[in-house]
């Protein structure tokens, strides 16, 4: 049934249900406001917990504290200018965001097949580097949520190398604006490949160390295994994606499903949750999937480097901006593009219009938002400490939840 102008807006109905729930809080229950300023809501998420002592009866998430009008911005400027704003969605994986956005514009323009292989490989290389950086944050902050501070610092130490490399390539530490429609901001700096392989050599032995410290730690396992079990059907119904969905045992990775960019040419596995320590889809599985994905990303990076140093070596006449259009001229169309972000499926839905390079509407589907939506379901009847463990294992970035 279509929504009529004179009807009560649906959100008012939800608001009324929420107010009724808060009014019905009994004497045995306590309402705890967790956030927006709380150490482990990973930003400015506000959770209202209705608890019985330490037992969480219900979680009511409030989002919107970091709303920055991305979609409105995208409606008021051209595609090239929007790329820096996509960087600010999931600010821990800016490369992946702009890759998804750029891919959509290129497909609408019909130039996605003409992009030189070297550019595609560089894009995949920086995206995978950024994926490692994002997962390192997820792993490290999860350690903090569980109470181990050291893995966080180790992860940041390794992430710093990636940040420095990407800064060298793009000029910025976190928000790169490096991938452009039709090409790149600039070719990789001379010596980047060598430094990157050096990083890979340095980074590979660090992962087993992290496993010893955290993944296989008995206390860590007892805190995360069998906690927050997310069955595959529930995950699909809530629109979960990325490591969240894969941990529930669904082998769904858009890099393989959609085969975009040069991923079909690259060899990598899709780690899924197996329930090794508890049940399939518990917090430990989600954590483990991220650890495994870091290993797979390292494999992808190695292959990219091999090709970038071999058959796709830099040449003097290579211009990464050769295909960058002066003006993006599109016919009016609707187009949905999606890509596998570290957090899950990032999608952009474009509604373009004729004779202007400003889109009529751009809807961003943030994976964190959809992953977060399952939290009230997972957090029914758990302890407060488990709620933190579950929230951490979802790995949200508020920049993307609120957009």
């Amino acid at each position: 049934m279509a929504f009529q102008l004179n009807d009560t807006p649906p959100y008012q109905e939800a608001l009324r249900a929420y107010e009724a729930r808060l009014a019905a809080v009994g004497a045995e229950e306590m309402v705890i406001n967790m956030g927006p300023q709380h150490p482990s809501t990973h930003g400015v998420l506000r959770l209202q917990l209705i608890t019985d002592g330490e037992l969480v009866k219900e979680v009511i998430p409030h989002v919107g504290y970091l709303h920055r009008c991305f979609e409105k911005h995208a409606e008021s400027m051209n595609y090239g200018k929007t790329i820096p704003f996509t960087d600010r969605l999931d600010y821990l994986a800016s490369m992946n965001n702009s890759h998804a956005f750029v891919m959509g514009v290129e497909r609408m323009l019909g130039i996605d097949r003409k992009i030189p292989k070297r550019i595609e490989y560089i894009r995949v290389l920086v995206c995978e580097l950024n994926r490692i950086a994002s997962h390192l944050i997820a792993i490290g902050t999860y350690g903090i949520d569980i109470g181990a501070f050291t893995p966080f610092m180790w992860c940041f130490r390794d992430r710093e190398h990636i940040m420095n490399m990407l800064e060298w390539a793009s000029g910025s530490r976190m928000l790169y604006n490096y991938i452009w429609v039709g090409g790149l901001f600039y070719d990789l700096p001379v010596g980047f490949e060598a430094r990157c392989s050096e990083f890979v050599r340095y980074f590979k032995p660090k992962l087993p160390e992290l496993d010893e410290l955290l993944t296989d730690n008995q206390i860590f396992i007892s805190r995360t295994a069998n906690i927050g079990i997310l069955p595959a059907d529930v995950a699909i119904n809530y629109g979960c994606s990325g490591p969240m969905l894969r941990a529930s045992g669904v082998k769904w990775d858009l890099r393989r499903v959609d085969e975009y960019s040069v991923y079909p040419e690259l060899e990598f596995d899709i780690p899924v949750g197996k329930g090794e320590m508890g049940s399939k889809g518990d917090c430990w599985d989600r954590f483990k999937v991220r650890i495994d994905e870091v290993k797979e990303s390292v494999r992808i990076i190695e292959q990219c480097l091999e090709r970038l140093e071999g058959p796709l070596k830099r040449t003097a006449d290579f211009d990464p901006r050769a295909l960058v259009p002066k003006k993006v001229n599109l016919k009016a169309q609707d187009y949905y593009v999606r890509a596998e972000n570290p957090k899950g499926e990032l999608g952009f839905y474009f509604v373009t219009q004729e004779k202007t390079d400003i889109p009529k509407r751009v809807k961003a589907r943030g994976p964190s938002f959809h992953n977060l939506s399952v939290l009230p379901e997972l957090a029914k009847g758990v302890l407060i400490a488990d709620l933190i463990a579950i929230l951490g294992s979802i790995d949200i970035v508020l920049g993307e939840v609120d957009r």
């Binding site: 482990s40 109470g147 805190r223 407060i384």
Partner: protein, 357 residues
């Protein structure tokens, strides 16, 4: 008059020691954390950051007293003092060297265990008085945890007391070294009364006390709210736990109490199980290492170095392990540590009756 002066002086010296130790411990904790986490730790204030904690204390002293409007003013103000005094008083009976203890109390160990328990009341006052839900949850957790863990730690201490046959801490220490009047047997077999050193410590006199010491060490970590049992102040869950609302000097006192508690429980373990001020070096024939390294200054040296070593282990554990959940903490206490401590106690009885005749 001189009597009161002496006691005031002793109190002042102990307070000075605790404050100095806290300064040192906070600095070393940061440096240890830095080492474990592959970073430098404080480096800017003073040489190698050595003045960092002093600067922090200065900052805390200058801060305004902020009492939340809805707080219970009396409880809120009194709690840090009670928490600190409870732990400070525990130092009263700790022996430092042969013949050097602030107060000679024949029920020394009993006194320490009893006075530390008052800490729980202070924590409850802090949590309730703050009128903050996180503080309340934190203090509830703290009290549940401390009260539970007093049982295995108390039982483990009783196991040692049954072997030592006294509650007087000075006596317990003397009976672990060459100055004893009793016969000391290593593992109940080999007479080490003259050899002394390491072999005469309680944990080696009766090997099951090693288990008792491990139980006591784990329980003592829980009693001073250190990781992996820091759930009362679980930063990622309860913001700051019972001290969420505290700032300035009041927070400094809670902090001081935490580090004093670390030192105190480490020292109890050292005194009861690890020989106290006794030297770890044995007499080997004519090489009278134990005789040479026993005395007032040596006593203080050994007590301090053993205790600081244990404090170092506490810090090492804190920066390595994740945090347990409240119910897991309880099941560890009641299902593992308490039965094991009972077992130690039973073995102690058998040991005393049949081995140490």
């Amino acid at each position: 008059m001189a009597f009161y002066l002496t006691y005031l002086l002793i109190g002042a010296i102990l307070f000075g020691f605790i404050a100095g130790f806290t300064l040192f411990a906070v600095y070393s904790e940061r440096k240890i954390a830095g080492f474990v986490q592959d970073r430098l730790g404080p480096m800017e204030t003073g040489r190698y950051g050595s003045l960092q904690t002093l600067a922090d204390i200065l900052k805390l002293i200058q801060k305004e007293y902020i009492t939340p409007a809805a707080a219970d003013k009396v409880l809120f103000a009194a709690a840090p003092v009670i928490i600190f005094i409870a732990i400070f008083l525990g130092f009263a009976v700790m022996p430092w060297a042969p013949g050097l203890a602030p107060s000679g109390l024949y029920l020394g160990l009993f006194f320490v265990i009893a006075i530390i328990s008052v800490d729980a009341i202070g924590l409850l006052m802090a949590g309730w008085g703050s009128n903050n839900k996180f503080s309340l949850l934190g203090s509830m957790r703290a009290v549940a945890q401390i009260v539970s863990y007093e049982i295995p730690s108390g039982l483990a201490l009783i196991a040692a007391v049954m072997v030592a046959q006294t509650l007087d801490l000075r006596e317990i220490v003397v009976n672990q070294g060459i100055q004893t009047a009793e016969h000391l047997l290593l593992a109940g077999i080999w007479d080490v009364t003259d050899i002394g050193g390491l072999f005469a410590w309680n944990v080696f006199q009766a090997p099951h006390l090693l288990l008792a010491y491990v139980i006591f060490f784990i329980a003592s970590l829980a009693e001073c709210n250190r990781a992996p049992f820091d759930i009362p102040e679980a930063e990622s869950e309860l913001v700051g736990g019972f001290h969420t609302e505290y700032g300035g000097l009041r927070f400094a006192f809670i902090f001081l109490a935490e580090y004093a508690m670390m030192f105190l429980v480490a020292m109890i373990g050292v005194v009861v199980f690890l020989g106290g001020w006794n030297t770890p070096l044995p007499n080997i024939g004519a090489v009278r290492l134990a005789d040479w390294t026993t005395g007032l200054v040596w006593g203080i040296f050994w007590t301090l170095s053993k205790t600081l070593l244990i404090v170092g282990v506490q810090m090492w554990i804190r920066w390595t392990l994740p945090r347990l959940r409240a119910d897991q903490l309880m099941s560890l206490c009641w299902k593992v540590l308490t039965p094991l401590a009972f077992l130690c106690m039973a073995i102690s009885g058998i040991w005393r009756v049949w081995v140490m005749v």
